[in-house]
């Protein structure tokens, strides 16, 4: 049985971590063909060919596929769909934009954010902000699935899949890209970092978020935030961890001035070790913390940064 996996490609480059994690999930379903699509995608295709477990790579390059616009990307995937029983992707915002569109064009349900593969038709997925895990069995001929990357280990490198080019489908011409606002950072990526330090409303201001960033830099960590911190303008939107932000499961997650609302826990409670620093001993975050410190963050965080 054949699987088509939409690689995560950003500006011509393969997002290796997200793609390799989805490959691990997809391998359980059958022979994996990776599709690298973009205005430029050849280099991404070459990189994907090296992931263990990938048997073939398709490269589709066309200006209409730049910036991962949903309409043209979905049209491309549908044009290739005949040969595959599963069409899958890592559950990134790009894939969440495209894959439900693909599913509806194929008249099948989408299975979003699957956290486990039971068999070729049956998947586990979190619902209600991770308060429940549902096992669903698809009766559709084709399965369109996005995989929650935080629950799969990345496949290794060392493969040497063949690479073919395919052409883009007709561009429906319904949308065009205007601009990206992407902050450059030397820090590790939030979803693949081994350590994440997150700040919440308790941090109090954009200036004081520097305390969080300093601790993160000391640990070589990525920086995260609660929704309240993002809404208040202390941190950019792409730092948000939670039900509707990013889902992370690092070896160490340090939550600072975060109360631990269920929507935040949804994005981090599978972390291996959780540390919570909060001045309110009743804060729900302590219920999921391995190590809790009841303290004023303005004293505790600089001290911790110094002592580590």
């Amino acid at each position: 049985m054949a699987v088509l996996l939409l690689a995560e490609v950003n500006n011509g480059e393969l997002a290796m971590d997200a793609t390799a994690k989805a490959v691990t999930a997809a391998k359980a379903l059958g022979d994996v063909t990776v599709l690298a699509a973009g205005a430029s995608a050849a280099a991404a295709g070459e990189a994907a060919a090296k992931i263990d477990g990938v048997s073939k790579v398709l490269v589709a390059e066309d200006p209409s596929l730049g910036h991962r616009l949903a309409e043209s990307t979905a049209a491309l995937i549908v044009s290739l769909a005949d040969d595959y029983e599963h069409i899958v992707a890592p559950a990134t915002t790009d894939a969440k934009n495209v894959m439900p569109r693909v599913a509806a064009l194929l008249d099948v349900m989408v299975i979003s954010d699957a956290s486990g593969v039971v068999d070729a038709n049956t998947f586990e997925r979190p619902i209600y902000a991770g308060n429940a895990v549902q096992t669903v069995k698809s009766s559709d001929a084709k399965k369109v699935v996005t995989f929650r990357t935080s629950t799969f280990d990345a496949a290794g490198e060392g493969g040497s899949a063949s690479v073919e080019t395919v052409s883009a489908a007709d561009n429906p011409g319904l949308s065009e890209w205007v601009e990206d606002k992407v902050a450059e950072s030397d820090r590790p990526e939030l979803t693949s970092a081994g350590v994440v330090v997150s700040g919440g409303r308790g941090v109090g201001s954009e200036e004081d978020f520097a305390l969080i960033e300093k601790l993160a830099d000391k640990l070589g960590a990525a920086v995260g935030a609660s929704r309240a911190a993002v809404d208040s303008g202390y941190a950019p939107n792409d730092w948000q961890v939670g039900q509707t932000g990013k889902v992370v499961a690092p070896d160490l997650y340090i939550a600072v001035g975060i109360s631990g609302a269920i929507q935040h826990l949804a994005g981090m409670k599978d972390s291996k070790i959780i540390v919570a620093i909060n001045k309110d001993e009743e804060a729900p975050i302590f219920q999921v913390a391995d190590f809790g410190l009841v303290a004023d963050l303005f004293e505790a965080v600089p001290a911790l940064t110094e002592k580590l």
Binding site: N10, H67, A70, E71, A74, T93, K96, N97, P100, R101, V102, A103, A104, D107, V108, M109, V110, S112, T122, P126, I127, Y128, A129, N131, A132, V133, Q134, T135, V136, S138, S139, P172, L174, S175, E176, W177, V178, E179, D180, K181, V230, D231, P236, D238, Q243, T244, K246, D251, I262, Q263, I273, I274, D290, F291, L293, A300, A303, L304, K307, L308
Partner: protein
Amino acid sequence: MKVLVPVKRVIDYNVKVRVKADGSGVDLANVKMSMNPFDEIAVEEAIRLKEAGKADEIVVVSIGVKQSQETLRTALAMGADRAILVVAAEDVHTDIEPLAVAKILAKVVEEEKPDIVLAGKQAIDNDMNATGQMLAALLGWSQGTFASELNIEGDNAVVTREVDGGLQTIKVSMPTIVTVDLRLNEPRYASLPNIMKAKKKPLDEKTAADYGVDTAPRLEIVKTEEPAARAAGIIVGSVDELVEKLKEAGAV
């Protein structure tokens, strides 16, 4: 310009979810239900478009159990003009799948001919994040998902989207479907006089069969379980003790 806003009745976001002991699902009997928070943001955005003179009619539609009427009344009290209830389930535990919802919405769109559909990006119960994209596919329309900013410019909508890397702005041709994210706006509360007025606003009642849509699920729910619980942790007394514990655990 006419705006269509689909709204869903879901468990209130503040309620602690309980998984039923027999694994059949989440207990929804006698728990507080509210409008999906993302849908509130979509309704608010539609009202703001109307207040800015860009929209002249707001139609809200809900697909589900009869009790979804309450959700529609809330939207009417916020400022929507008219509501359509599509009864597609009898048991409050039946969740109509996004594909079936999108098919019904596609029929509603054919009848109502809106210029824009504003939908929540995801429902906080099934967390599928799919209905808007599916509706766009079925209609062959453009889509602007996860919007944190929306501007109507002639025949186009300019949508700023919250994406993994930051923000992306795209221009989509109308008619279009925009799914909204948390930071688009802060929804208003309905005032008491508006709640009273909303009772008199028109609410049409239909069924899924009226639209000829088969809502049979494609995904069979095999079981619903509690997630794995975390082992209890400890409270440390000082920063020094925290550092020590982290070193012992090999975390730093």
